[in-house]
C-alpha cells in the first residue's frame, strides 16, 4: 500500500561511476553517527547471538566445562525425540486452526463494526478492550473462567443444558480453550481490518449495488478482494506469532500444577497437550540446560517460519489484490 511505495528507493539520476564527493563522505559519517545505536545493537544483540546460536546448535553445553562439538547430533536427536514431534504437532494444530479462525473472526467483527450502526465507537471500544489487558492477567482470568465446576463458561453451558468439559485438565479441550481465549483478545486485528474496510472506495460498492449486486455479492466480490493485502499481512503475522506462542501456555500449565500434588510448574500440562514449540524450547534450554539442543530447535524454528512465510507469499499472488498500479 502507501507504505510499500514509500519504502521503494527514491528516483535518483543514475550515475555509473559515483564519485565520493566531499559532501557524500561527510553525509556518510553523519549518517553512520546517527545510526550508531542501531549498529551496536545489531552487532551485539542480533548478529553475534545469531552466529553464536548457530555454533551452539552443533555443540553440547557443559556448565563447568567448555562446550563440546558434536556436529549434527542435536539435529539427529530432534528427529528421534517424541516430545519434539508432539510440540511441533501442537504448534501446527494452532497454526492451522487458530490463525484462520482468528482472521475470520476479526474480519466478521470488523464488517459488523463497519455497518455504521449507532454507537459504533462504543462497540469498537468493547471489541478492542480485552486486547489491552496484559497477557498474564487475561490468561489467569480465563483459567478462572474455564474452571470445570464453577467457572463462568461451564455454568453458562450448564444453563443451556450442556455438560461442559474439563477445559484445563482434558488434553482434548486444552487447545480449544486456548483458541477461544485467543479469539477474545484479537482486538488489534479487528482494528486493522476495520481501517482496511473503511479504505474500500465507496464508489466501487455503489457501482456494484447499482448493477444489482446483493450485500453478500458486494462483500464477496468487492470488499474481500480489496482487503486481501491486509488478510495476507495478518496471516503472516499470525503464523509467526503462533510459532512463538509461549506466555499463555505457560500460565495454563501453572493452573495444572497448582492442583497437582507435586507442585511446581509442569510445562505442557495436561499430558503435553499444551507443549508448544517455544514452550518445549524454553524447557530444554532453561530447565534442562541443554543449550545446544535448544539452539538447534531455534534454528529449525527459524527455517520453518521462513518456509511458511515464503509459501504464503507465493500462494498469495493468486488471491491478493494490490490495486491497478501493482
Amino acid at each position: 500500500m502507501t507504505a510499500s511505495q514509500a519504502s521503494a528507493p527514491r528516483k535518483r539520476t543514475p550515475r555509473k561511476n559515483r564519485r565520493w564527493t566531499k559532501r557524500s563522505r561527510r553525509n556518510l559519517v553523519t549518517g553512520l553517527l546517527f545510526i550508531t545505536p542501531w549498529i551496536i545493537g545489531f552487532l551485539a544483540f542480533t548478529f553475534y547471538p545469531m552466529v553464536s546460536s548457530l555454533y551452539t546448535s552443533f555443540t553440547i553445553y557443559h556448565v563447568r566445562a567448555p562446550s563440546e562439538w558434536v556436529g549434527l547430533a542435536n539435529y539427529q536427536e530432534m528427529l528421534a525425540d517424541r516430545r519434539f514431534w508432539k510440540a511441533l504437532y501442537n504448534t501446527f494444530y494452532m497454526v492451522i486452526f487458530a490463525v484462520p479462525l482468528m482472521l475470520f473472526g476479526s474480519f466478521l467483527c470488523a464488517v459488523l463494526l463497519n455497518l455504521k450502526l449507532k454507537g459504533q465507537s462504543f462497540y469498537r471500544l468493547v471489541y478492542f478492550l480485552p486486547s489491552i489487558i496484559p497477557l498474564v492477567a487475561s490468561t489467569i482470568l480465563w483459567v478462572w473462567l474455564f474452571n470445570t465446576n464453577n467457572g463462568l463458561i461451564n455454568v453458562a453451558l450448564g444453563h443451556l443444558g450442556i455438560d461442559g468439559p474439563s477445559w484445563l485438565t482434558d488434553p482434548q479441550w486444552s487447545k480449544p480453550a486456548l483458541i477461544i481465549m485467543g479469539l477474545w483478545g484479537m482486538g488489534s486485528t479487528i482494528i486493522i481490518y476495520l481501517s482496511g474496510l473503511q479504505d474500500v472506495p465507496a464508489s466501487l460498492l455503489e457501482a456494484a449495488e447499482l448493477d444489482g449486486a446483493s450485500w453478500w455479492q458486494r462483500l464477496w466480490h468487492v470488499t474481500i478482494p480489496m482487503v486481501s493485502p491486509i488478510t495476507l499481512f495478518n496471516l503472516i503475522l499470525g503464523v509467526i506469532a503462533m510459532f512463538q506462542y509461549f506466555t499463555q501456555a505457560y500460565i495454563f500449565a501453572g493452573a495444572q500444577s497448582s492442583t497437582a500434588a507435586s507442585g511446581g510448574r509442569v510445562l505442557g500440562a495436561p499430558l503435553d497437550s499444551t507443549l508448544f514449540y517455544s514452550v518445549y524450547l524454553y524447557h530444554k534450554a532453561f530447565i534442562n540446560l541443554k543449550f545446544g539442543y535448544a539452539s538447534a530447535m531455534a534454528w529449525v524454528l527459524f527455517i520453518i517460519i521462513m518456509i511458511c512465510t515464503i509459501v504464503l507469499l507465493r500462494f498469495s499472488e493468486r488471491w491478493t489484490y494490490y490495486g491497478e498500479e501493482a
Binding site: W38, F45, I140, A255, S258
Partner: protein
C-alpha cells in the same frame, strides 16, 4: 392506461417498502450480532472486575453470581452475628441471627429481641446474602503478595514494572529516533541496503538469539537478576520503531530543515530542535506502545529475574497463580491493579492507540 399506472405505482411502492424492510432486517440482525459478540468481549472483563470484590466463600459459591454477595451480619447485644433465614417445615420463615451450630442443631435469636431464642435443625437455615463489595481484597492482595515471608508485595512488583517501563520508553524513543533520522533525512551511500538489513531483522524469531543473549548477559556481564538485560537493549534501537519513525520523518518538508542548515545548525541540532518537536504525535504513539509492550512482557523477566524482590507484575502474578490454594478474589484484584495503568493510558489516548494499530497494519 390509468390502471397500469396505478399498478406500477403500487409495484414501485411495494419494492420500496420491501427494500426498507430488508434494510430494517439488516440493521436488526447487525445490532443483534454486534451486541452478542460484544457480550463475549466485555463480559469476562466485567467478571474479572466483580470477582475482585467477592469474599473468599462467595468466589466458590455455586451457582456463581455476577455481583459479590456476602453474609449479612447484625449486632445483637454487642455481638456481630450472621443473619439467617430460618424456615422450619412447620412454621413461617423468619430472619434470625445465628448464635451457634452443634451436631446439626442450630441456635438462633431474634435480632430485635435477643431474649427470644429459637432452636431448630441447621439445615432449615439459609444465610442471608446481600451485595457487599469487599474493598479490602485490593489492600490484602497488594500487601500480601506472593511471598509473605520475604517482605515482598505487589507494590514491589508494581514499582519494578514501572522502572522497567520508564527506562525502556526513554531508551526506545532516544535510540530509534536517532537511527530513523539517519535513515530518513541524510543521504549517505549504502543507506538503502542497510535499511533493508534493518527490516530483515524483524523476521528473526526471538528464540534464535535468546540463548546466546542469556549467556552473554548473565555469564559474561553478570547482569543476572537485574533489570539491565531487559532495559539496556532498548537503548540500541529496534527495527519496528525505526521504521515507523522513518515514515514520519520523511513527511517533514525538506525546506524546513534546509533553512536551519543554512543558518549553520549542525545535523544533530536540526534533528533535536526541528524534527523532534514536529514528531510529537508519532513519538507519543511509540511511547504508548513501548509502555504496553514493557508492561506486558513476560518472557524477558522470566529469563532474567529470579528473586521475588526483582519480579515485575507479570511475573509476580504468575508466581502467585502457581501456588497452591489460589485466592481467586485477590488474584483478580491484583489483575485489576495490573490492568489499571493500561486502561488509564488507553482512555486518555484512545485515538493514539487506534491510529498506532492502523499504522502497524498499513505497513504491509
Amino acid at each position: 392506461m390509468a390502471e397500469t399506472m396505478a399498478a406500477n405505482q403500487i409495484a414501485a411502492s411495494q419494492a420500496r417498502s420491501s427494500r426498507r424492510m430488508r434494510k430494517l432486517l439488516e440493521r436488526t440482525l447487525g445490532y443483534t450480532a454486534a451486541t452478542m459478540i460484544g457480550f463475549f468481549f466485555i463480559f469476562p472483563v466485567i467478571w474479572m472486575f466483580f470477582t475482585a470484590f467477592k469474599s473468599d466463600q462467595d468466589v466458590f459459591r455455586f451457582p456463581p453470581t455476577l455481583l459479590p454477595h456476602a453474609v449479612q451480619y447484625v449486632d445483637v447485644a454487642g455481638e456481630r452475628l450472621p443473619l439467617y433465614t430460618v424456615s422450619p417445615p412447620d412454621g413461617e420463615p423468619r430472619k434470625l441471627a445465628m448464635v451457634k451450630v452443634s451436631e446439626g442443631q442450630g441456635t438462633y435469636v431474634n435480632p430485635d429481641d435477643p431474649s427470644e431464642v429459637f432452636q431448630t435443625r441447621a439445615r432449615y437455615a439459609e444465610p442471608v446474602l446481600t451485595v457487599q463489595f469487599q474493598w479490602h481484597n485490593f489492600v490484602d492482595a497488594m500487601n500480601r503478595g506472593a511471598r509473605p515471608g520475604l517482605k515482598v508485595n505487589f507494590w514491589t512488583y508494581f514499582k519494578n514494572s514501572s522502572i522497567i517501563a520508564f527506562f525502556t520508553i526513554i531508551g526506545t524513543l532516544f535510540s530509534c529516533s536517532l537511527a530513523a533520522y539517519g535513515f530518513a533525512r541524510i543521504h549517505w551511500p549504502g543507506r538503502d541496503v542497510v535499511f533493508i538489513l534493518v527490516l530483515s531483522t524483524m523476521m528473526l524469531p526471538f528464540q534464535v538469539t535468546m540463548i546466546p543473549l542469556f549467556l552473554f548477559f548473565t555469564e559474561t556481564l553478570h547482569w543476572g537478576n537485574t533489570f539491565l538485560p531487559i532495559i539496556v537493549p532498548s537503548f540500541f534501537a529496534n527495527a519496528f520503531d525505526i521504521f515507523l519513525l522513518r515514515q514520519f520523518f520523511r513527511g517533514i518538508p525538506e525546506e524546513m530543515l534546509d533553512a536551519a542548515r543554512a543558518d549553520g545548525a549542525s545535523e544533530f541540532r536540526v534533528f533535536w530542535s526541528i524534527v523532534l518537536p514536529l514528531s510529537k504525535p508519532v513519538l507519543a504513539t511509540i511511547a504508548i506502545f513501548t509502555f504496553l509492550w514493557a508492561w506486558n512482557d513476560f518472557l524477558g523477566p522470566l529469563l532474567y529475574l529470579n528473586s521475588p524482590e526483582k519480579f515485575t507484575l507479570a511475573l509476580g502474578l504468575q508466581d502467585y497463580q502457581g501456588q497452591r490454594n489460589v485466592a481467586w478474589n485477590q488474584l483478580m484484584a491484583a489483575s485489576v491493579v495490573f490492568t489499571m495503568p493500561v486502561m488509564i493510558a488507553f482512555f486518555f489516548a484512545q485515538r493514539t492507540f487506534i491510529e498506532g494499530i492502523k499504522l502497524t497494519g498499513s505497513k504491509g
